[in-house]
């Protein structure tokens, strides 16, 4: 299952920001682009014979959702006197 929430918080002397990103909206926004890209890629595959290397890169692109799904549960916390970095993928 794909992660549904991304939390990023970065704070230091100069900058401070925090983001809660409900990823479902990102997926909904990206889905038409992803489908369009898949369609174009399919047509390109049919019309031309791309290099093996190109096919590998495309394979990587199509595996990205798997990587994203596997990242669910990742937590990174870095605290020091002057800075703080938090990244949660849930």
């Amino acid at each position: 299952m794909l992660p549904m929430l991304l939390r990023i918080r970065i704070r230091d002397d100069k900058t401070s920001f925090g983001l809660f990103i409900p990823l479902i909206f990102v997926y909904l926004l990206m889905l038409p682009l992803y489908l369009l890209f898949s369609l174009v890629y399919g047509v390109v595959l049919l019309c031309t014979s791309p290099k093996a290397q190109t096919r590998l890169y495309m394979g990587l692109v199509f595996k990205l959702p798997l990587l994203l799904a596997a990242a669910r549960g990742t937590e990174i916390n870095v605290h020091s006197d002057k800075s703080k970095v938090i990244l949660y993928i849930k």
């Binding site: 990587l67 549960g73 916390n77």
Partner: protein
């Protein structure tokens, strides 16, 4: 498995086999199903629900830097599987950079078929570093 047992019981009821033969057959069915039923899937599901932790804690008051990283095993497994899809020229660049940094680890040794055994071995990993100013712990849970 239930079907096999029902067949044996039916044969017993029809008098085709004796009670002792039925008992032997039933235990044989149980033994045959044990590894695929419980062992394999449980191992995979238990690995996928595990995490790799890296924690750096300061010892004294001088340093207050704390690092806590929690990475799902599933992400490691996905990374290992995707490694094979990375084009060779990119792999070479990564390998060269690793060699320059003193990591004599060969990326080509990482194969998807070895991922499961690698993760099983990683599950037993436990590193404790006790330095003057901080402690570092790497473990899986």
């Amino acid at each position: 498995m239930v079907d096999d047992k029902m067949k044996i019981l039916n044969m017993l009821a029809e008098g085709k086999i004796s009670a002792q033969e039925a008992e032997k057959l039933l235990s044989a069915v149980d033994k045959a199903r044990e590894p695929e039923g419980s062992g394999g899937t449980d191992l995979i599901s238990s690995l996928e629900s595990k995490f790799l932790y890296v924690q750096v804690e300061p010892k004294g008051d001088e340093s207050s830097e704390r690092v806590s990283v929690k990475i799902p095993f599933a992400l490691l497994k996905a990374g290992l599987n995707i490694m094979g899809l990375i084009p060779e020229d990119v792999q070479e660049t990564i390998q060269n950079t690793m060699n320059e940094k003193g990591m004599s680890f060969n990326l080509k040794d990482i194969k998807p078929e070895n991922a499961q055994s690698f993760l099983t071995a990683l599950e037993q990993l436990s590193i404790d570093v006790d330095a003057d100013d901080s402690t570092v712990k790497v473990y899986c849970r």
